[in-house]
Amino acid sequence: MRREVIVIMKAFRIISRNIRDGFKSVGRNLSLSIASISCITITLLIVAIALVVSYNVESVTKRVKQDFTIVTFVDNAASKEQIDNLTERIKKLDNIDNITHETKKEIASEMRDTSDSLSAIIDTWTDETNPLYDTLLVKVKDTQKISNTAKEIRKLNLVKDVKYGQGMVESLLSVFSAVEKGILITMVALVLVTLFLITNTIKITIFSRKREIEIMRLVGASNFSIKQPFVIEGFVLGFLGAIIPMGLTIYGYSALYGHFNGQLFSPFIKLVAAEPFVYVVSLVLLVLGVVVGMFGSYNAVRKYLKI
């Protein structure tokens, strides 16, 4: 029992000394620490901007996609049962999310509300003279396949016509998918570059301390206790480097959001609400900075240890 207590006390002293040394050496190697911290700050800033932009683009495309609808006009000869039947048949097709049935009466009353001159005309319509069609509003699961689905619906009986913004939808979709791919590639590349840059900066920092590691080995420090202060130092560097990007994300984005009233150019492009978005992004930046800092230090020290 006493032995165990002594061992735990020893381990505790070693760890607390290593934490102390980790913080101390940030100050002792100030110029190189500042280099590492600014490197982390700059890369994390770029990552922050990329995160904010990509998340907003993502949210806009998502909203636009949700609005993609196949409007199916049903032949006026169809009875109520036949329309229900048709709805069932469409449901059985692939790629159907949901179907809303709007009768021509509902459409007429909707149109009546839009303007006074229209309402005067529509008021004269009866159920028989109403020239509009019953419509089925079909939402699809995968917008990429919207044109195929529309074609299949068109083939069904009693379908008078199908409209889904042909041409416009396809070009929008291809733009969106290109933007999404571009952002994904940029993000992955940025994270890799961040990792590479930070690891290298820390490597240079540690290279200058090769001697320190050599001496630690000579006086009998275990590999673990050599690595520990460096990893803690990496943690401190990553943490300090993340502060400015985090602050800019939280205050900068909130200010931007407030300035534009939550939308860019038109109500069509809505920005992602500042809260809790900025906190999530800051957390991502903090974790990225700290993890990359620790990983970079660990990797760099490993090079000088015979393991």
Binding site: M9, K10, A11, F12, R13, I14, R17, R28, R211, E212, E214, I215, M216, R217, L218, V219, G220, A221, S222, N223, S225, K306, I307
Partner: protein
């Protein structure tokens, strides 16, 4: 029983250089042994194998009962904690004070702070530098720096002190001063193995001398029997 034993040790470096050839050597506990020889005679390799910086290609090396050649890389630190090492270039950390440099070797074991303090001051007292605890290495003379390095090597009370050309950078008077300190440590019971070029000093010290030439042990002089003027 011998404290250090080299048994049929060969060392060939990866580039094909044959540094040590069929070495057999025994050193008793508490002995003071000089290892001399020209550059390239294998002195440094012998010393490096003792603290397991290099592994012998063939043969066995025992230090205090441990087969050094068999120690794994990840366990080398356990061996290093049992021995003290002093180098020609001192190997002090320039950004740490004298006290911190010496304490460094103890803190890695997790000793309590008051015990660290007691041992560090005792070691610095032994080398005569108790008054310089707050100085930085570059504020000290070469001899003083080497004494700090010696204090660091012995602070953990090792059974063996290995010295690789400890006086190589020092003038004769300072060398003698440093040698006195090392002799004092030997008197306290620590075994000392020292590689050196300085034959005059070896002559003065009257200790056991091992002469190497081209990787071979050519002569083993008993304590006091070596003379610089023998014409070797």
């Amino acid at each position: 029983m011998e404290f250090i034993k080299f048994k049929n040790v060969d060392k060939t470096y990866k580039n094909g250089v044959n540094a040590v050839y069929n070495m057999n050597l025994e050193i008793k506990k508490g002995e003071f042994v000089f290892v001399i020889g020209a550059s390239g005679s294998g002195k440094s390799t012998l010393i490096k194998m003792l603290y397991r910086e290099e592994k012998p290609t063939n043969g066995e090396i025992y230090v205090g009962g441990i087969n050094v050649a068999r120690v794994k890389n990840s366990k080398v630190y356990k061996l290093r904690r049992k021995i003290g090492i002093v180098f020609q270039d001192y190997k002090l950390l320039p950004k740490l004070t004298v006290y911190e440099n010496v304490a460094f070797a103890l803190e890695i074991y997790g000793l309590p702070t008051d015990e660290v303090k007691r041992k560090v001051l005792k070691a610095l007292d032994l080398v005569g530098l108790k008054s310089k605890v707050k100085s930085y290495p570059d504020q000290l003379s070469g001899g003083e720096q080497q004494r700090v390095a010696i204090a660091r090597a012995i602070v953990n009370s090792p059974k063996l002190l290995i010295c690789d050309e400890p006086t190589g950078n020092l003038d004769p008077d300072t060398s003698l001063e440093v040698m006195k300190v090392i002799e004092k440590i030997n008197d306290l019971g620590t075994t000392i193995v020292m590689a050196t070029h300085d034959r005059e000093m070896v002559d003065k010290m009257k200790k056991r001398v091992v002469l190497l030439d081209n990787g071979k042990l050519v002569k083993d002089y008993e304590k006091g029997s070596y003379s610089n003027y023998e014409g070797v």
